[in-house]
């Protein structure tokens, strides 16, 4: 089996201008901030960022990396709105596709299953349809004849997620309360990069959590990065909680505020 270990810089070197990059986590929870920070400091540009948005979106907007943001929300949880994302929006600097957060999951799932779309009610009647004029509806071919939103597949060139543990082959483990959509990002992407708090032997994975915590496996991963503290100031329980002071500094303009741990 292939040893997929690589460095943060190796990952950034594999990315290209104009790529669509999916970023795992949720709000200010388990965001792959080591990878995101390296992208923010790189020469990459014109990225389309797909995210249940937190400081990843704000940081990449503030550093001019984002051509388009695809999201349902952008929030820092304990700070409801990300000021950097707001500024980019209010100055008209970025394109956006704002979807219902459940429909966003459906778009990733459709890409994962290699389907062109999945039907849903979430978005019908709302201005999601008005503000994303490319969205179409589909009529049920069965006798109910219901008209539903055809949520298009969201294909990713690359997925970046941060896990608690992984082995060098790409079997990755979350130990916190929620996987969020990290496994879907991996299945929806061409290239999949997992950073983690610690790389361990495969035989050690079950020491930390049950088999159910192994939601990402080596079929879904191209690169594994050991990055202790790699979720930055966002929460990565049980390894660490959110560093509220560092997050406040980030929101106040210190973009690369480091967590003190």
């Amino acid at each position: 089996m292939r040893d997929k270990r690589m460095s943060v810089d190796d990952v950034v070197a594999e990315l290209r201008d104009g790529m669509t990059v999916g970023i795992g986590g949720w709000g200010s929870r388990r965001k792959p901030m080591a990878l995101v920070t390296a992208i923010a400091k790189s020469s990459l540009k014109d990225l389309t960022v797909v995210s249940y948005g937190g400081p990843d979106v704000g940081m990449l907007c503030a550093t001019g990396k984002v051509r388009k943001a695809v999201y349902g929300f952008v929030s820092l949880d304990s700070i409801p709105l990300d000021p950097h994302f707001r500024k980019a929006r209010q100055q008209g600097e970025i394109e956006v596709a704002e979807f219902d957060e459940g429909a966003l999951q459906w778009g990733l799932y459709a890409a994962a299953l290699r389907l062109p779309f999945l039907p849903t009610r979430a978005g019908l009647g709302s201005d999601v349809v008005t503000n994303n004029p490319e969205l179409k509806t589909v009529t049920s071919p069965y006798e109910d004849g219901e008209e539903l939103l055809a949520m298009p597949a969201i294909h990713l060139d690359a997925a970046l997620v941060h896990m608690n543990r992984a082995d060098k082959f790409g079997n990755a483990q979350y130990l916190g309360p929620d996987i969020y959509f990290d496994d879907l990002y991996c299945l929806a992407a061409e290239k999949r990069y997992v950073s983690c708090e610690r790389i361990v032997e495969t035989s050690e994975l079950l020491a930390a959590g049950p088999p159910q915590s192994l939601k990402i496996n080596r079929m879904m991963v191209d690169g594994v990065v050991e990055a202790a503290g790699g979720a930055g100031f966002t929460s990565c329980v049980p390894d660490y909680g959110r560093d509220e002071a560092a997050q406040k500094a980030y929101a106040a303009g210190d973009l690369f505020a480091e967590a003190s741990r």
Binding site: L81, V96, D100, T120, A122, G125, E147
Partner: protein, 252 residues
């Protein structure tokens, strides 16, 4: 009960939104709705499912003897949203007469909004799939507007236009710091259901940016009973955090 505060009346009024809901997830957004959902669960709606803010659901979120009874990560939560087993109480930056809600952005140019808010979040999916109520801590013409800038949660007019796919749409209550509103009118326009003790109907009309129905002789919002008051003050919120969302200038 002359020492009952406006915040306590709001908690009891919000709790009423979940009356009769049975075994569904109650998702309160905001401090007063969070207290209200717990009050409802402890009194007349014991079947409600309440989360710890993450994926675990607790038998008694404030109690000393509370247990995890369910685990519902976001992936699964959307299953329940789309299944209809949930009643959310959301906030709104703008709300119109048919209950269209905006939490996305302020301004008429979506490509360059005057103020970017959190985003539509789950509001489109919530409102078309399961019962929704709203909590507005500051009833004002800035919130209650003729037309919202970005329809996030859909109102009755948008639901009607969406056809049979919107048949699960249901807006229950809009509770504010001044009144309780609902949509029990022939064409589902917002009406005053009751005004809180100490508030005049003129105040409610002046704080609303569109013409409300039901302005003649509205009922008075009931005050919480003795047991509800005891639960609010001694069990749910002994530190009085409710005053941060609805400060009382004086007692009602």
């Amino acid at each position: 009960m002359s020492d009952v505060t406006r915040a306590e009346i709001c908690i009891a009024a919000c709790a009423e939104a979940w009356r009769g809901d049975g075994e569904v997830i109650a998702s309160p957004m905001g401090r007063i709705p969070a207290l209200a959902a717990r009050l409802a669960k402890l009194t007349f709606a014991p079947g409600l499912m309440l989360s710890d803010g993450d994926a675990d659901y607790l038998t008694d979120p404030t109690g000393a003897d509370s247990h995890v009874e369910a685990h519902i990560p976001y992936r699964r939560l959307f299953d329940f949203v789309w299944h209809g087993s949930r009643h959310v109480m959301m906030g709104a930056s703008q709300l119109d007469r048919f209950g269209n809600q905006n939490i996305s952005a302020i301004g008429t140019d979506f490509h360059r909004p005057k103020a970017q808010l959190i985003g539509v979040r789950g509001a489109p999916g919530n409102t078309i799939n399961h019962p929704t109520s709203y909590w507005i801590a500051n009833h004002s013409p800035k919130v209650f507007v003729e037309k919202v800038d970005v329809v996030s949660g859909i109102g009755f007019d948008r639901a009607r236009a969406a056809g049979p796919a919107a048949r699960f749409h249901e807006l229950r209550l809009v509770v504010t710091n001044l009144a309780v509103l609902d949509f029990a009118t022939p064409d589902r326009r917002m009406r005053i259901r009751s005004i809180h003790p100490g508030v005049t109907v003129e105040e409610v009309i002046a704080a609303t940016g569109f013409a409300l129905e039901g302005t003649s002789h509205p009922a008075l919002t009931p005050q919480p009973g003795g047991e509800a008051l005891r639960l609010i003050r001694e069990v749910l919120d002994p530190k009085g955090t409710r005053e941060r969302e609805v400060p009382s200038a004086g007692r009602v």
